[in-house]
Amino acid sequence: MYRSVRALVVALLSGALVAGFLGQIPQLDILEQSARNLYFHVPMWFALMMGTVISAYHSFRYLQSGDRLRDIRAREAAWLALLFGLLGIVTGMVWARFTWYVGSGKWWNFDPKQSMAAVLLLIYGGYFVLRDSVEDPDTRGRVAAVYNLFAVVTMPFLLYILPRQLPSLHPGGEGSPAFTQTDLAPAMRWVFYPSVLGFLGLFWVLYTQRVRLSWIRKRLRREPEL
């Protein structure tokens, strides 16, 4: 199972990279060649969403059961959410620089979605600071899980409600969050969807491996002779 998913991820992402950088893309107004970033920037945010949902789910189950493995799963999913979020912000900044702010040469301007995404990363940063400040493992797990679930409750406001009330250049701001014809030409779907699958698969591969690694590390710390 794991090996076949890994092989699929490698194939999908290699395909997306080659097609993304070398393939033909339809001419879209304003976006032009930068439209290629769609294949990377958007799937990274999908992976972040997957990370937040998985992390919150395992935090919830940890509060129910107190099983240490749930805590590890919640932590690793949050760590990967932070990683994909950082990548998403960087790709988004580059994209914004060469489309929205091309005349002004700005790297960062007050775009609601961009700024709220940065706040989301701060929340996950706070999650790890909180984890590091508690000594006792049981208390740490519980405190971190409570903070994680409390943060998840505020995330819809951050990511979906406020960006729709503020003026933004980002697609999906007003009305339907789906892509419009100006953002995604039909031909691009053939690279975009495999790329989304590839990034979600990459998330899964990294997530399962990191969880196993932390589990082994914890076992080794308890029984060093193993």
Binding site: L63, Y147, L149, F150, L162
Partner: protein, 222 residues
């Protein structure tokens, strides 16, 4: 113990300890007034746009709350009274009592800061009702978040600057909506213009209050 009586007892206890020294309240108000005066000196004598006025007000309230609140749980842990409280009351009573106490603190903080800002900047508010509503909702959300996070921070061994780090990013939605609603109140726009902000505030306060009520049991229980 009756639930209401228990929650009221927790609140009365905190209030009585606070009134004996007035430490938290005085620190909070002095911090807010000091920050406001500092901002005025830094900006200098020039007309300030309404957006910036309301931004100043909420930044001062938010930072004062982040620095000055959350001591009540830490005090319980430090004095060793937390165990007694756990034995004698249910978690929800403690949460309600502490929330009420924080509400009193943040409420006076919000009231005094707003009064001071309006006086010092010579602002006339065209819609006091809208301002009071925005202030009330903001204060309520702030009190809910500081109560839950204060209980979390009290469990941590290294506390330092933990509360601001946890609190400030979580309260971004509250800040954005309250600043915008306050600006509209100062400008005197009709209530319907501020309905987006007010509805967001209601939703935010409702969601955080429900989540905090449910989650508090897990922080408090040993």
């Amino acid at each position: 113990m009756d639930w209401l009586a228990g929650a009221w007892a927790v609140f009365r206890n905190d209030l009585r300890i606070e009134l004996r020294t007035r430490y938290a309240l005085n620190a909070l108000l002095l911090f807010a007034l000091g920050a406001l005066l500092l901002i005025l000196f830094a900006v200098g004598p020039q007309p300030i746009p309404t957006r910036v006025q309301s931004a100043f007000l909420w930044m001062v309230i938010l930072f004062a709350a982040a620095v000055g609140l959350g001591r009540s749980f830490v005090a319980e842990e430090r004095q060793g009274t937390a165990l007694l409280l756990r034995l004698n009351t249910r978690p929800s009573m403690v949460f309600a009592g502490k929330l009420l106490f924080n509400l009193v603190l943040v409420g006076s903080l919000g009231g005094v800061s707003t009064g001071a800002l309006l006086l010092l900047l010579d602002v006339s508010v065209a819609r006091p009702g809208l301002l009071a509503t925005a202030l009330g909702m903001g204060v309520l959300g702030l009190a809910v978040a500081t109560t839950l996070l204060g209980a979390l921070v009290a469990r941590a061994a290294r506390r330092g600057a933990l509360l601001p780090v946890l609190l400030l990013p979580l309260l971004t939605p509250l800040l954005v909506s309250s600043v915008s609603a306050t600006q509209k109140a100062i400008q005197g726009l009709p209530w319907t213009e501020a309905q987006d902000e007010l509805l967001t505030l209601v939703g935010f306060v409702g969601a955080t209050l429900s989540a905090a009520t449910l989650l508090f049991d897990y922080v408090w229980a040993d």
